[in-house]
């Protein structure tokens, strides 16, 4: 049945997070971006909503709610409407937790999920990106080699969300001698594992204050139990789709934020004797931005919904949503900046930050998941 109705819980989450985004995230966004650091109290306030613990089964001390990609899409869009960087930092541990819920063995769930049910934020994240240009999730250079009952990992992971502090990483690696996404598996790697070295990374165009880390894996020996899902492993296409749609959901929120910021300015800014919003060249840009904010959202919702139901069309829908949002979100942020002219270029206003964030969100796989 096709319906665009959110359930009661999703509507409540959306309303609460939109309020939080407008009152807390957006006002602090510029200062945090300039400082390039994520304040601890933001992570705590975000954690207090219980978004990550909500879907952890009661048996592991969680809220026992449904593990819902749709709910996550709604939450990520709402948070992204305040500040994409803070949204990503708040929700990054969800990538680890959701993957555990989706693919983990009983032992893996029992070993990790209870840590995420407490009152203090716990940092863990998904390590996807690598150093090379032209990186693609299916062409991992991080290689897993079988050794006895376990595995040996070699490779390098970059821009890993919360990499400076995460106590555990879920590292994607390709089976030695195999190609493509089907050969990609995920490994639970604690920070103190021998052979893993972690450096804090600073300096990215967008999502600048999102803490990041570089992981070097040199003959990292892992027990067989470290492979997510055990013998069954994971469906990497699904896991990557969760990450792509997650980033897209944040980008939808960002696009709406940029559009809603440009509208009042177009009414106020006078040129040649009238507000620029009364000129079709500007008015039509805004109309186009509104049109795409709406349609982008439905693309993300459809992908999230199909992923949630493990529908056979889910991976395709995710590719389509990612592609659509990739093109539209950057254009919207870019056009919003254009409407402000030179003021959009100056770092007093958030326009240039939104352009950097939109570009960054739509080239990374992640850093959040639905």
């Amino acid at each position: 049945m096709i319906t665009f109705e959110l359930n009661e819980e999703q509507s409540m989450i959306r309303e609460a997070l939109q309020g939080f985004a407008a009152e807390v995230l957006a006002p602090g966004a510029r200062a945090i971006d300039e400082a390039g650091e994520m304040p601890a109290d933001i992570l705590q306030k975000g954690w207090d909503f219980g978004l990550i613990a909500a879907a952890i089964p009661e048996a592991y001390g969680g809220g026992g709610g449904d593990r819902s990609c749709m709910t996550n899409a709604v939450a990520l869009e709402a948070l992204g409407g305040g500040c994409a960087s803070q949204a990503a930092a708040i929700m990054a541990p969800g990538q680890f937790v959701s993957a555990l819920i989706d693919f983990g063995t009983e032992e893996q769930k029992a070993g990790h999920l209870p840590r995420f049910t407490g009152a203090t934020p716990v940092a863990a994240s998904l390590a996807v990106q690598e150093s090379q240009f032209g990186f693609a999730a299916e062409a991992q250079r991080t290689i897993a080699t079988r050794k006895g009952n376990g595995f040996v990992l070699n490779g390098e992971k970059r821009l890993v969300p919360l990499g400076d502090r995460a106590d555990t990483f879920l590292v994607l690696a390709r089976d030695e001698g195999s190609e493509g996404l089907a050969a990609v598996q995920a490994y639970i790697v604690p920070r103190d594992t021998v052979g893993l070295s972690v450096e804090t990374e600073n300096g990215t165009q967008g999502l600048k204050p999102l803490p990041k880390g570089k992981l070097t894996l040199a003959n990292v020996e892992l027990p067989g139990s470290a492979r997510l899902g055990g013998d069954a492993g994971i469906d990497a296409a699904r896991l990557i789709s969760h990450a792509r749609v997650g980033a897209a959901a944040v980008a939808v929120g960002l696009s709406r934020q940029a559009t809603d910021f440009a509208i009042p300015y177009a009414r106020e800014r006078v040129a040649f004797g009238e507000p620029i919003g009364k000129k079709q060249s500007i008015a039509f840009m805004l109309a186009e931005m509104h049109i795409e904010c709406e349609t982008m959202r439905w693309m993300v919702w459809k992908a999230a919904s199909l992923l949630e139901h493990n529908d056979p069309g889910a991976v395709k829908a995710s590719v389509l949503a990612q592609d659509y949002v990739r093109r539209k979100a950057v254009k919207i942020a870019d056009d919003a900046l254009q409407i402000f002219g030179g003021h959009g270029f100056i770092r007093d206003l958030p326009l240039e930050m939104w352009l950097r964030n939109a570009r960054t969100l739509t080239v990374l796989d992640g850093p959040v998941s639905v």
Binding site: M1, T3, G134, E138, L306, L320
Partner: protein, 397 residues
């Protein structure tokens, strides 16, 4: 909770719609070349919608809401290459499915609906010098005794040849602007009402397009739709707004026609390229795809986005929520993809796509109108811009 999956029966209906729609494909070229010939009731090999209608009886209350589902049906129907009979707008409502019927249903009095509801009614607004700016129309109507006397010229009347009559826009007070504009039901055969010609067009050739003239055309006093003969002085007009309101229902339907042509061109292209060994590998990342794969993905994403905007506008109607803005959004998207996707399809297919051996070029010609009629893409953007900026139609022109 938000869901985008079709039930088994709904999917079965859509599949059947496509099957039935394709059954007349081999006759389609003939009627492109003989556009003013009306196809016989049943073409050789034609399968009818009587195969589809019984399936509707199997739908359950939990299935996709009706208006939303009918948009999916419309997209499926229009994506086929068979002979289309008219625009198929409100199928399966039956004969009384003209654009004018939608106006009658939303703005007519109960008596008018009872009296004319079974007729096939066209909508006659456009004039030789007035298109999108509908409040500038020149046709006049004046009350003479118990009759209205209408004078003016009308063009681009969809179904204007085959209809029983038309809802005609005319002003009863030119000085009042849009407040003076009223709509009148004029039946074929009314004195002074002449069908001047049938147009020859780029596409949608199975839908006839007429030009009318009205020379002291006399219609009864109760032919004024809605019955309100007053001209409000505040500039607004309930009657005008009432008729404009019908666009909230018809715009998603017309947008669905544009999406349908995009979808048809896309499906044709995917199948044709697959035969040549070119198919999208959905597991590949952006920078690992061929240019053709990437183009196919963009075409499919654009078509899907437009389709979802149509379904959303219709769904709002189903759940009784306002959809004024959303119906313009989906019309803008439908109008965009009806142009860009068939154009791109022909690029990917190469030179033979222009040949009359194939029907893919027809999607470009048939689709093109969707960004023009029922409000051009520019008018939709104007409506959207006014709404989001809070400007009146006088403030943002």
């Amino acid at each position: 909770m938000a869901d985008f999956r079709l039930s088994a029966i709904d999917q079965q209906i859509l599949d059947k719609v496509v099957e039935v729609g394709e059954s007349t494909s081999r006759h389609a070229r003939y009627y492109e070349d003989h556009e003013h010939e009306t196809p016989p009731t049943r073409l050789e090999g034609e399968r009818g919608f009587e195969e589809v209608f019984p399936l509707f009886g199997q739908r359950q209350p939990g299935d996709t809401p009706m208006m939303t589902f009918m948009m999916a049906v419309s997209i499926a129907r229009g994506s086929t290459t068979g002979v289309t009979r008219g625009l198929g707008l409100a199928m399966p409502a039956g004969r009384a499915s003209g654009l004018g019927n939608a106006a009658l249903q939303s703005a007519g009095t109960p008596e008018q609906k009872a009296k004319w509801g079974d007729l096939f009614l066209a909508m006659s607004i456009t004039e030789p010098n007035v298109g999108s700016d509908t409040k500038a129309i020149q046709a006049t109507a004046r009350l003479d005794g118990d009759e209205w006397v209408i004078n003016g010229d009308k063009i681009f009347v969809t179904d204007g040849v085959k209809c029983d009559g038309a809802i005609v826009w005319a002003t009863i007070d030119k000085s009042a602007g849009r407040a003076g504009i009223k709509s009148f039901l004029v039946l074929k055969g009314a004195p002074g009402f002449e069908l001047v010609r049938q147009e020859k067009k780029l596409g949608i050739r199975s839908s006839d397009t007429a030009a009318y003239s009205f020379r002291d055309c006399r219609v009864p006093r109760d032919a004024l739709l809605g019955g309100d003969e007053t001209v409000p002085k505040d500039g607004g007009s309930a009657g005008y707004k009432g008729v404009m309101k019908t666009f909230n229902m018809t715009r998603p339907a017309v947008a669905s026609g544009g999406v349908a042509k995009a979808k048809g061109a896309l499906e044709f292209t995917k199948a044709a390229l697959a035969q040549e060994g070119v198919e999208v590998d959905w597991s590949r990342s952006y920078n690992q795809r061929s240019a053709v794969e990437q183009r196919l993905i963009e075409m499919e994403a654009d078509t899907e986005a437009a389709a979802l905007s149509v379904l959303h506008a219709a769904w709002l109607n189903d759940v009784r929520k306002p959809n004024n803005l959303e119906s313009s959004v989906c019309k803008a998207k439908g109008g965009e993809v009806c142009r860009t996707i068939p154009q791109a399809a022909m690029e990917l297919l190469g030179g033979m796509s222009v040949s009359h051996d194939h029907l893919v070029e027809k999607f470009l010609r048939d689709g093109r109108i969707s960004d023009i009629y029922e409000g051009t893409g520019q008018i939709q953007r104007l409506i959207i811009a006014r709404e989001i900026l809070g400007y009146s139609s006088e403030e943002l022109t």
